[in-house]
Amino acid sequence: MVLRLLHRAMVFVLSVLAASVLVFAFMRVLPGDPARVALGINASDDAVAALREQFGLDRPVVVQYLDWMRGMLTLDPGIEFISKAAIGPQIADRLQVTLILVTTSMVLAVLVAVPVGIWMAVRHRHVDGVVMSAASQVGVAIPAFLAGIVLISVFAVRLGWVPSGGWAVPAQDPVGFLQRLVLPSVALAGVQAAVLARYVRSAVLDVLREDYLRTARAKGLRPVQALWRHGLRNAAVPVVTVLGLQLATLLVGAVVIERVFVIPGLGSLLLDSVAQREILTVQTVVMVLVVATLLITFLVDALYLVIDPRLRTGSR
């Protein structure tokens, strides 16, 4: 088990390295010179060249890469070209916002999706199960941003219950924070819950067909008890996989909702930095997102070991 974890950890580190090279290389081929963008329309080539030098863009690519990696490792990726703002704290701030949003909606989604999914599976031959299943299919089909726009239109603009967007720091303005969290979380969670519920349903349906569930019933457990005691843990593996994937995609995917609700999250930082050609910020944000995703994959893998003892031994 330890060995397997070690192995996964090694894969994680290698993946991060590979991803970092990819990201870095990609950023170097971006057209749109950050120096040119900073200097504007009429800048002379000399001025641009001078600024490139100041930004360190004229150094050999390998040096730039190593420098960046060192910056990443020391959690100080440097300062932005144009705004001169330190990148690290900026990302930390934005990441915090995105994480709050994403985890809140994931928690919401799980709270809704798991019971609903189980219900749909258990009652898959009954009218209520079928109706719920159809509803979840429709839920999956609705773009999150459309949901967001409609929510704003109804609950913020028409009813005026909550603000239409923005963000508040929880420590300073807890009420405002919660008010602003509600709609975006619901918009994100709604769609995620629909997707997740479908996976829960199919995982539970799979488990319901397993022999050991029949054994459990032969022991004298009623169907729901059997599912509860023997089924759910086994259904958890595929669900956790999906959850991990969802969480990972949501880190970036939240950008759409961040846009709709004017939330200063990591995704909007990425979009803004791309627009400004703040290469260093872009590649660092991308890297943070990628590392987070890989980390989630790694954690999900570790979680498997907890859930499923079969995976703990060397063989699969």
Partner: protein, 281 residues
């Protein structure tokens, strides 16, 4: 040349490496086949029995050139197959053919019976009128020529096993290797397939290598038997001799554990089976 054995194994070993379980220890090795030496004569009906995991299938894969021995030498009709790349084993494919256990999974569900049976011919570039050959083979295994146009799922287990046999016979092999060909079949169908095997081996003068964990079946089909345990051949001998007076303890316990209709009716109980009390006692 006629006295070269059909198959000869010389101290054949096959190890599988398992994933590491600890950093300090070397990765564990499963010795699926160890030091097996066997000679199977031409026209012989040779059985291999052994419990699950004893290495029977691994041994067969080695025989058929589908896998490489870790050490040792395998000769088929006097030619070594151990050191040749898979591409150069065309001659082996022509001489030796395989029939598998599972009638559901041994035929590609997406291919028509014709394509399945013609596959060895096509793959080995054997010319001639395939359609005709396939029809001939189908008749040989007791199926309709019409069957060529259908898909495997349209046949029952026994019929599918016949199709497998037809495929094996397509390149006109000298050696037929069967891995548990009847263990997935119902008794009534099993009898049909066993009769077919009998008929074909006799009719075409084939060498038969027959693997099974069901000793009664091996006893019915084979002249000579090798008993495997944990990758080793513990005993080889004439079938009747081996059943009547097993020399190795393991063989004895294996034989004793076989439930048998007649001895059971004569009063042999489950306890007797488990204790290895033979039919005679």
């Amino acid at each position: 040349m006629t006295d070269t054995p059909a198959i000869e194994l010389r101290e054949v070993c096959r190890d599988f490496r398992r994933p590491r379980t600890s950093l300090r220890e070397a990765p564990p090795v499963v010795r699926a086949v160890r030091d097996v030496s066997l000679t199977i004569g031409r026209g012989e009906r040779f059985g291999i029995v052994g419990e699950s995991g004893s290495g029977k299938s691994t041994l067969l894969r080695l025989l058929c050139g589908l896998d490489r021995p870790t050490s040792g030498e395998i000769l088929v009709e006097g030619r070594s197959i151990g050191d040749q790349p898979a591409r150069r084993l065309g001659w082996l494919r022509r001489r030796l053919q395989l029939v598998f256990q599972d009638p559901m999974s041994s035929l590609d569900p997406r291919l028509r019976v014709h394509d399945i049976i013609a596959e060895p011919l096509v793959s080995q570039g054997i010319g001639g009128d395939h359609a005709d050959r396939v029809g001939e083979l189908l008749e040989q295994v007791g199926l309709d020529r019409e069957a060529a146009r259908r898909y495997p799922h349209q046949f029952s287990g026994g019929q599918r096993q016949r199709i497998s046999v037809a495929r094996a016979l397509a390149p006109d092999p000298d050696i037929l290797v069967m891995d548990e060909p009847v263990s997935a079949l119902d008794v009534s169908v099993r009898a049909q397939v066993l009769n077919l095997v009998d008929e074909i081996v006799d009719g075409l003068d084939l060498t038969l290598v027959f693997v099974s964990h069901d000793l009664s079946v091996v006893r019915h089909v084979c002249d000579r038997v090798a008993v495997m345990r944990a990758g080793e051949v513990v005993e080889t001998g004439e079938t009747e001799r081996l059943f009547a007076e097993p020399r190795h303890d393991y063989t004895a316990s294996l034989v004793a554990a076989i439930p048998d209709l007649h001895t059971a009716l004569a009063g042999r109980t489950a306890q007797d089976l488990a204790r290895g009390v033979g039919p005679t006692s």
